[in-house]
Each structure stands twice: as C-alpha cells, then as structure tokens.
Amino acid sequence: MCGIAGIASTATQIPFKDILKVLKAMEFRGTEQGAGFAAHIPVDGGFIRFKVFAGDEDSIKVLTEVIKDLIISGPDKVATFNKVSVYEYYLSDYPPQSVYNSRGVWVLQASKYLNVWKGVGWPYTVAEAYRLHNLMSNVWIGHTRYPTNSPGFKPWLTHPFTYRETVIVHNGDLSSYGINKRYIEFRLGINNFTGNDSESIAYLMNILLNDGYRADEAINLLCTGEVIPEVKLDGPFAVIFIHGTSKGPIFGAFVDNHHLRPLYVAFSDDKVYVASEAGALKALDHKLKPLMLRGGGMVILYPDGEKVVKGLTEYKVFSYTTPPLNDGINALLYANSVDLNKAIDDVLRSKGYAIVYNLLGHRYVANGLGPGYLELTGVVGNSSLNLIEGLDVRIYGQAQEDLADCAENSRIVVYGDVGDATAQAMRSGELHVLGNAGNRLGVQLRGGIVVVRGDVGDYLGEYMAGGTIVVLGSVGKYVGTGMVGGKIYISNYVPLSNIGKAPPKTQVERYLHALVRRGKLPEDVAVKALNAKSVSELSNILHDQFRQLSKLWGILHVGYPHAEYRYLRDYEELELRNILMNHVLITKIPLNIDEILLNKFTIITAAKYKD
C-alpha cells in the first residue's frame, strides 16, 4: 500500500536522489515499516544478481550448498533489518525454482538487468543501509510502505517485489490474491509465498511477458482476465514496474479499472515521471504538469523510445493572475498541518483574507475554517477544505483527492484539475472546476452547485441527494447511480449504458429476444427498445414489459436515474444560464454561454426507487 513513484528516461541517467525526493514528499503515505527501490543496472558479464533475506547463517549455508555450482561470488552480507540480513550472490545462471520454496530464506531478487533494494525503514534509512546515494540509472522505481495485510517488521514483506527480470511496486490490495497465487503455484512451482498480495503482480507480469505478450497487452490481460482468468487482478491497484530485457528496460505504470488508487503522470523532454501524488512530482520539479491517470489507464516507455499512453487526462490551459505572494503564508515553513491551519485561521480572523503559497500536496488545508477569503497556490493535498463554512476560496493549481468534503455555504474555484471524491457530501455553496475532475465528483452531494469545464471520471453524482451539477466536458460511466435527489446537466450525449448501473447489454438483448420468441413482444418494438437512448425511453417503449426487465437494474433497491437527452426547456435554460453566468463572473474565464445552451443536454434526475 502506500506511496509509489517511478522515473524513466531512454536517454538520460537519473540520479538516485530524484526518486528519493519524490518518495520523501509522500512521507504521509508511508511508515517506517518499509521502503525499497529498484533500478535498471545490468550485471557485467551477463551474470545473475541474486539476493536473499535470511534470519540465520545456517539457512544461508543450506542455500549455498543448493546453488554451489552456480556461484561466481558471494554470499556477501549487504544489509541487515530487524536481525534479518540481506545476502548477495553473483550466479552464472538463474537459481533453481526450489530456492523460492526453501525454508528460512526469502528471495529478494534473481536478475540480470535489475538491482533491487528493500528493507524495514523510511526510504532514506533503507537508502543509507544499502548506500545508494551516488547511484545513477535511466530507470528508477520506489516505494514507501504502510503495511496492509502483513506485519510491518519482516523485511521480505516490503516492496518492490521481483521475479526474475520483472520488478513492481504496488499501492492497493488484491481481492483476487487467492486465485492469482494458486495460478502461480501451479505455473511456476512456487508454493512458499510471503503472504503479501503484491508479490503476485511481479510473478504474473513476468509470466505474461515471458509468454511473449507486449507490456501493454500484458497489462490488458491483468486488468481483464481475458485468455487466462486466473491472472486477473481485482481490487485496488496502482502499479509501477520495470522489466529488464536485452534491449533495455521497459518502464510502465497502470491503474485498476475503477481508479481505486491514484497515479499522476508528468512528462519532460525524454523523461516520464509517475507518482501516487501530484504534489510529489511538483516537489521534484515545480515545472512539471502532473496529469491524472484514469481508471484502466497506463503509461509505458519501451527501450526504443516508443510510448504507450492510455487514459491520461488532458492538460487544460487558462490564463489567470496569481495573487501577490509578499504578504502570503509560505506553506513550506510549517512543519505540520495543525500549525499551517492555525496560521491561516489567525490571518483570516484578523484580516478576513489569507494567501497561502508553495503548497506541494499539503494535506488538510483550511479544514473546519471560515468565514473569509482564501487564495491557495500550488498543489492542494488530500482531504483539504473539508467541513469549511462560509469560505471563499481560489486554488491556483490543482487539488488532489477528497476536496471540500462536507463543505457548507462556501465557494471554491479551482484553476486546474481536482482528484477523486471531490465535493463529497457537500452541503451547500459552489464549486467551480476549470480543469478536469476525477471519479465520484459530487458523491452524496446534499446541496449547492458544482460546475466543471473539463472532463469528469466515473460515478459522477453517485448517491446524490440534492443540488445541481453541470459538466461541460465528457463524463465517464455509472453516472448518477443511487441518486435520490438533485439534478445533473451534461452538455454531451451520455449513452444509456453509462447512466446508473445498467445491466449487461447482452442480458437486456437476450431478454427482449426471449419475449419476442414467446410472442410477448412484437419484433419491431424489441428493435426499437434495443435502440433506446435512455431508461425512460426504454420504459416508454416497453410499457408493462419494462417492469420485469427493470429488476435487472435492482430497481426495487435503488432504482435507476431518470435520464433524458434533449434540448433544454425554458426553465432549465434559465437555471443553467444563471449558473453559468455566475460561473464566468466568479472565475473570470470567458465562456460562450449562448452557444452552449443551444446544445442538447443529457439531463439526469433522481432514481425512481418506488414505482
């Protein structure tokens, strides 16, 4: 779990301190229970770098005996964590599979192209233990650990996890671990697992890459379970990996289909940067422009320079003037959020307005504060502006996850992107996002107005109970599921299958065909129904037959949102014109409102949970 990062280039050698700096900026995501790094540093002479953890010399003696014919050098004790030492060998070939199953030792790595270091500690203490500070490589990945499903004091449970030439760092927890593990067991003959679900990703990726799949294909198989169901990864995962080949390293990162873990990506010249937090990339280089990797998205850099990019948000450019910094609060001067918020509160109370700059993913900014006028510059970190009341806020930059939870009677303008679960349970007030928004924007919105100019992820307005959301860009899937109140306007066509949690299309088709076969539905009506653009339309076409079909939506529990795709009615046009005029007035970024209002909108209102 935890914080992960990666930096890769096909042209430049990157110093170790860069990856360390990114991890340091994400200290919040970790503990002193583990950290690790991996780089592409091939072994001279084509030998195998073989490292193991062992708690006692006897186990090492036994292991040495097993692999004695392969040993070029070693074992050398290279580091020790909690009385468990890391021993390094150089071997003439990969060790036999049996070493993975031997008692008392845990394989850290056995690879030609990779060097992997990990142990119990903060990233900098692990780096000191292995003396990494002067190393260079063209590819780095790193991990700071918050132990999830395993104890924190055993070093072999830390990340990265490596199998032969594949090394991964993972943030998440796999519900599929049980079956992934069984597949690996029978496929590779390995039965001594650490119990950390993340290890399975290294094994599975290696299996697929060795089977001849390209990295992007392999990721696709891991995400879908097509071809081999047992390799499907389920549950939250954000993964960064390196796969060493004779042509050079393949570097990549990917996120689960539901975007249950964040990853931000930035590019500069020949380099690709990936991290769990946008603020961490900004901390490394303030010129970087971190973009959200959406659910099911991936970034891959092949050794020949080919890039595969899928599911990355677009960078939106606006012109705005940032506030003068001279009388502002420099966030970097505060050791923790309590002190920072106290400083903000004091200034707000005395002057009625405050300016904060140099925010680099600082958490909890201004939580519980208000009233007053607040200007924030940089990357606003997780869970900020929560439970604020009567606060008028400008964010010049972007905000990470959980912005404005339970906010009341406040106005927030973000000149950039916002992360997942923004405006969760917002009670009243306004939120204006000039950039894009992540998943679950306005989840459980209770009131107020949300306007987004850019694109929005999945589950927009989930469980929404009141208020109005206006989206001028595109939206993802599952819009308005479980909605019980409020209204969503989207200035685009949103297909039926993306509204609420529609049953699988195949099942709807089957059902209608069966009705035709049984003579319960004329064929032409079935054809019309299959082309319906909204649930309401479907319901109108099918009349009484819809009642039974609707059970596939789970209608009696939460129903399906009412959705129409049409031109605005007069009162809606008036409502929207007011909202957008206010939006332009507040944000000062122009918009052709007349033209927008001429469009057809997808208009979504509360679920019909009781017929």
């Binding site: 104890p151 339970c406 989840v443 599952y478 599921t481 059970k551």
Partner: protein, 699 residues
C-alpha cells in the same frame, strides 16, 4: 390500553407510551433465544445477573466453550448471592478503563445506533444511561439528536454517509469514531429503510423524505490503510479529540487493527459476525465475516508483536451479552466490549427481527411516524440496571482471580481453558484445549422457506438484528455452512452491486457465454423459459453437449475435459461431500495443468447465493442448486405458465443479486476472481477446514 391482550403502557396525548416488557419472541434456534432474553431482563430488573458464570457448553460460541481456570462455577454463583448487591459494590475492585478524557466505570462502549435506526427516545435513554452508569456511547451516523447532545459520554460517528455532520457537531463528543463496517453486514453500508426516513430524520440527514438512506459500502475516500490513517489524523486535528475506528471482523481484522493502531487512533472496535443491525441483507448477515471470539486473541497478539499494544484500546463486539462474555473477551485480549443488542433487550426488545420495517412493537426501532414511544425514564432505569449488573459480575469475577484491576487481566489467555473444540481452533485463540470436540453443529435440513419478496419481487430479503451464525449459534445443514465469506474492510473498498458493476458472466465448455454461473434444472418448462431469457445455463441443454460427464462425489471422471457435473443426489452428510469433491477435482485439474480444459458444475441440495459463492470459491465453475428450484416449483404448482415464468425470473434475478452482494462485500468485481479463490473463505471448524483445504477463521 389493551393491545394483543397485554397491558403495554399508557396513552400520552397522541402516543402510546411503552413502559413494560412484552412477552419475548426470541429465536427458537439462535443466540438470542427466549432464555437469554429472560436472563437479560432479570438483570435489568434486579441489577444483578442471575448467573455470573456458566459451565462450558458443547454447542455455541467459543466464549460459551471457555472456562476460567481455578474458578468454581457454583462457588462464584453462590458468592454473589451471599454478598448481595451492597456486598459486591463494597469490593475494592476496579473494573474501569481509561477512555479519551474519561475514566469509565465499566469497559463498555454502547454500540453506535443512529437516530433514525432508533426512534429518538431510545437514543436519549441510552445516552443518559451511559452517563449514569459511566460507560461510553457512540451516537451512530444519523446526526446528533439535540437531547443526546446534552449527554457527556457520547462519541460522534464519522460514517460513509456523512449524515448530519457539520464542523460544530463533529466536535461535540469525547471522541470520534470512524465507522468502516459493522459485524452484521461486513462490506455493506448503513441502510435506513425509506419507511423510517420521515420528518426530522430526513431533515437531519438532508435527504428527501421516504428515500432509502443508504451509506456507501466503503468510504469513498478510504480505499486503503493509508487513506484511513489520513482520515484518522484529519479528524483528530479538526476536533482535538481522539479517534476510534470501527470495522467488521473480516479475515484480515488483525491487520486492520494494527493499521489502525499505527495511525495513532485511540482504539479499534472490531465487530464480529452475529452482531445486531437495523437492516441487513439476510444473505450477508448469515454468511459474511467472522465471529469475534475467533479474532480477539490473534489481534491482541499481532498488536503486541508489532509493539503497538500499549495505550491502544481493542474493543470487541458482536453477541456480547453478559458479564462473563465481557470477562472472557478481556482474558482473550480485548480491553473493552461493544454492546448494543443486549441493552435493547434490557429496554424491551422481544427479538422479532423486524427493525427494518419501522414497526417495532417495543418502540425501540420504530419509525417516527408510528404511534408508539418508549418511556425514557423506564428505559434509562432498565439500561442502567443492566449495566450495573454486568459491572457487578465483572467485579466478582476479577475478585475471584485475586486481582483488583480488570485491565491487568487483558490477554491473560493462560487463565482460560477451551472445551469441545478442535486443536486448530485452540491454536488460533491460543488457549489450552481441555477437552477435544467439534465446533460444527449439524442438524437435518429444514424445509426450505423461500421468502415472498424473492418469489414475487426479485428482491433480496432484508432483516433486522443478529445472532444467526450457521453451524455456530444455529445448526448447519452441511459443511459448506461452516465457511465464512471475506469482507473488504479498509484495505480495499467493498463494492455495492446495486451501484457498481460486478461481472458474473461465465464461459462454460460448450462454447457459450452465460450471464451467471447458476445452472438451472429442467424441471418445469417455465423455468427453462425464464433461464433462457436471462441467459443462465440450462441443465438439459448442457446435457446435449458431447463432452459432458456426470459423476457423484467420490468418483473420478474418465478424462478431465468438457463439462463435468458432480451431482450429490440426496445429501446424506457422508464423505466425500460434494464440496469436498469440488476441491479434489479442481486441485487435480490444476496439478495436471488441465484446469482450463474442463468446467466443473456442482449440483446438489443447495439453496442460496451463499452456497453458490462458496462452491465457486472452492473451485466449481458453476452451481446447480436443486433444492431451491424444487422448492419454488412446489410453491407455484398449478399457476399459469406466464405467472410461473415471472416467479422463476424473480428467483433467478434475486439469486444473482445475492451472489453479487456477497462478492461485492469482499471487493470482488468479477466471477474470474472468485473461481477457485479459497482465500476468500474461512472455516469455523478445524475438520471442515482441513477437508476443504481452506484456512481456519481468525487467520
């Protein structure tokens, strides 16, 4: 006022005031039986428990099978009689515990029941009782009732629904509890049925009246342990109060507790299976999560191993109903317990499991639109009496061990002995096994009773209150019932199938993809039509496939290819069981690397989504629940075909929702991640665990 022939109270202007006990209903089989209800009422009337300590029993919870070394049951029961209330109160024994800014008299956290789940007066009565008896009470997630807000021992809840939360309210208690999950329905969010969302409740929660108040299954800002740590710190900074986290006991409970401790929370409330609820899907209540007595000891040990035990409160919940339950929980490794159902019983609950309807006869969980109201004074008196009775039992038990501080006994498992269990269970709870036996409790299968909402609405049944854990507190019909299903808590989000996609599609080996891994027998044309329309596999269609074999458990098929139907015929309890044979053939297929060449269909006396889930997780590709379909057929015999089709469709749709609910609870979004994933299962019984190759509960 006469109602149903009993004198139940008096009329105050517009309300019928409840100030008497109604005759208890209780479960015929199950934890909350009439005897237990009467025991609680005795204590609530007299201020002392009828029985301080009982002998180990061969059936029921682990707590019921534990004895305390060197404490004579008869002697201690006599001692309390002899001392009397005054005598016990004079004992210089401290059974209290430090909690936030308070020193509590008794280590009890009264469970978080919201205003809305309870009808106002019970919320007030319990909060006042907590102040008087000096225990602590969580207010639940419905917002703060103004009169509850006047009490001083309250803990504010931060739940996924955020109902009624603002920056003033969140600071009003002595601590804040982040509610991740509850034992009755791990992986499922809070649910206040629309019937109860009226007037003040709707206003306080800021949702339209009459709508279902559903809290998201996970917190959408907490998908991992570091997210939780972030929230713990945020709430702590915002309120200046300590933060607790409440989670259901899933398989990973101990790791979650460690994560919570590492986040510098004050404590973890781990709520076990069988715990109470206002409304939970029955299938989840009965099969997901692990009883608390499997979890306490192993969690205590892991916290110690990680150096995180000092100053951290481990609070155990779920079917804790007496002083000795609390005492044994503390010896197992808890600091405190979380109690709610027992207190509702003390205040008149008759255990009719109808909390979700809003029509509670005892005026505890009724809708505000109903005419009954609890007499607050009467409620306070009985709740306080019961709390004092339990405190007295704890004192005398502590005293009998020669100790003067109960907290000194936390984790003293060496003082316990386990009876009538297997060594695997003894090992998990780290208690000496005094007399071997079996946890599992089997009885002949009952006649299947399919609820009307399944047959006529395609709706998954929702029930109130707990106490039902098959094979543990109620009889099991087959070994499958002893398996508990994993729930996602904290480390990954659970999935709400009504709002999020859970893919049930399955490709069997006849080249066809079906919508669900549920095979339908050809016992009625109408059933076949229904299955066809919904895209479920049909047995007689499968039988046409050339590469199909049928075997009974114990028989190997000639080759491992095509479709293999393992049919148990009539279930008789003899080995090899159907579930066992699924495990054997799945393992064999994987060992020979032939698993992708065949589909395994398990057919037998199977009845619901839980049976289907468990068999697929053990290794089956699809399941044919004969008992269910036979029973439906009987029920609708004689109806016209179109009507029968509709009922069958309802049953098939409902079955898929049950399966999705169970998968979603564990954060499993695809059938592909379920099949053969035995890690999602745990057994309450060591023998069943070994035969089916799954881990024991608690691990």
């Amino acid at each position: 006022m006469k109602e149903q022939g009993f004198n139940v109270g008096y009329i105050d202007k517009k309300y019928l005031i409840m100030n008497r006990y109604l005759p208890p209903l209780g479960d015929k089989l199950g934890f909350w039986n009439r005897l237990r209800i009467e025991g609680i009422r005795y204590a609530a009337e007299k201020g002392v428990e009828h029985e301080v300590l009982s002998r180990p029993k061969p059936r029921g919870r682990i707590l019921d099978r534990l004895s305390i070394k060197e404490v004579n049951v008869d002697a201690i029961n006599n001692l309390i009689q002899r001392l009397g209330i005054e005598g016990v109160d004079r004992l210089e024994v401290d059974v209290g515990v430090d909690f936030a800014s308070k020193r509590l008299s008794t280590p009890i956290y009264i469970g978080d029941m919201s205003f809305g789940a309870l009808s106002g007066n019970p919320n007030i009565a319990l909060a006042r009782a907590a102040d008087i008896a000096n225990v602590v009470i969580g207010i639940g997630e419905g917002g703060l009732h103004p009169e509850v807000g006047e009490c001083s021992n309250i803990v504010i809840q931060w739940a996924s629904g955020r109902f009624g939360i603002d920056r003033y309210m969140i600071r009003k208690g002595i601590a804040v509890t982040i509610k991740i999950g509850q034992g009755a329905k791990p992986g499922i969010g809070g649910h206040l049925p629309g019937e109860k969302v009226v007037d003040d409740i709707a206003k306080l929660r800021r949702i339209p009246p009459g709508s279902e108040a559903l809290s998201p299954a996970p917190h959408h800002d907490i998908y991992s342990i570091e997210d939780l740590a972030q929230r713990v710190r945020m709430l702590n900074e915002l309120t200046g109060k300590p933060v607790l986290v409440k989670a259901a006991a899933g398989h990973q409970a101990r790791f979650i507790a460690v994560g919570i401790a590492r986040a510098k929370a004050l404590g973890a409330i781990i709520d076990g299976a069988g715990a109470g609820t206002g409304a939970a899907p029955k299938i989840v209540r009965d099969h997901v999560g692990v009883p608390i007595d499997f979890v306490i000891s192993i969690t205590d040990r892991l916290l110690r191993d990680n150096g995180l035990r000092d100053g951290f409160l481990l609070i155990a919940g779920g079917m804790i109903a007496s002083g000795q339950d609390i005492f044994k929980s503390i010896l197992l490794g808890a600091n405190m317990v979380n109690i709610s159902t027992a207190l509702l019983i003390a205040m008149g609950c008759i255990m009719c499991h109808k909390c979700n309807t809003g029509k509670c006869p005892a005026a505890l969980t009724n809708s505000l639109s109903e005419p009954r109201r609890l007499d607050i004074g009467w409620g306070v008196k009985h709740a306080v009496n019961w709390l004092k009775a339990v405190e007295r039992s704890l004192k005398i038990l502590t005293y009998s061990l020669g100790e003067d501080k109960l907290q000194n006994l936390v984790g003293r498992r060496d003082l316990l002995e386990l009876y009538y269990a297997d060594k695997d269970v003894a090992e998990i709870i780290d208690v000496v096994l005094k007399e071997p036996g079996q946890i599992a409790w089997y009885e002949e299968p009952q006649e299947l009773d399919i609820p009307f909402e399944v047959m006529f609405y395609g709706k998954t049944p929702v029930v109130g209150m707990g106490g039902i854990v098959p094979g543990y507190t109620t009889p099991a019909e087959r070994p499958l019932d002893l398996l508990r299903i994993e729930a996602a808590q904290v480390t990954r989000p659970s999935i709400d199938p009504y709002r999020e996609e859970i893919d049930l599609r399955v490709a069997l080996h006849d080249g066809v993809t079906y919508e669900a891994p549920i095979v339908v027998p050809c016992i009625d044309d109408a059933l076949v039509d229904a299955a066809e329309a919904l895209g479920y596999p049909i047995e007689c269609e499968l039988l046409k496939y050339s590469k199909l074999v049928e075997v009974s458990p114990g028989t190997y098929p000639q080759t491992l290819e095509g479709i293999i139907i393992v049919d148990e015929g009539e279930f008789n309890g003899k080995r090899p069981w159907l579930e066992e044979w699924v495990v054997v053939l799945d393992d064999e297929g994987r060992r020979c690397r032939l698993r992708e060449k065949f589909a395994l269909v398990a057919a037998g006396r199977l009845k619901d989504g839980a049976d289907i889930y468990k068999l697929i997780a053990l290794g089956a590709d699809a399941v044919l629940p004969r008992a269910l379909f036979n029973s439906v057929k009987e029920r609708i015999h004689g109806e016209v075909k179109e009507r029968r089709i509709e009922v069958y469709e309802n049953v098939l749709i409902e079955l898929s929702w049950e399966l999705r609910l169970l998968m979603g609870a564990g954060g499993v979004t695809s059938y592909k991640s379920l099949r053969g994933n035995r890690w999602l299962l745990r057994s309450l019984d060591g023998y069943v665990a070994r035969v089916l190759n799954v881990d024991i509960a608690g691990i």
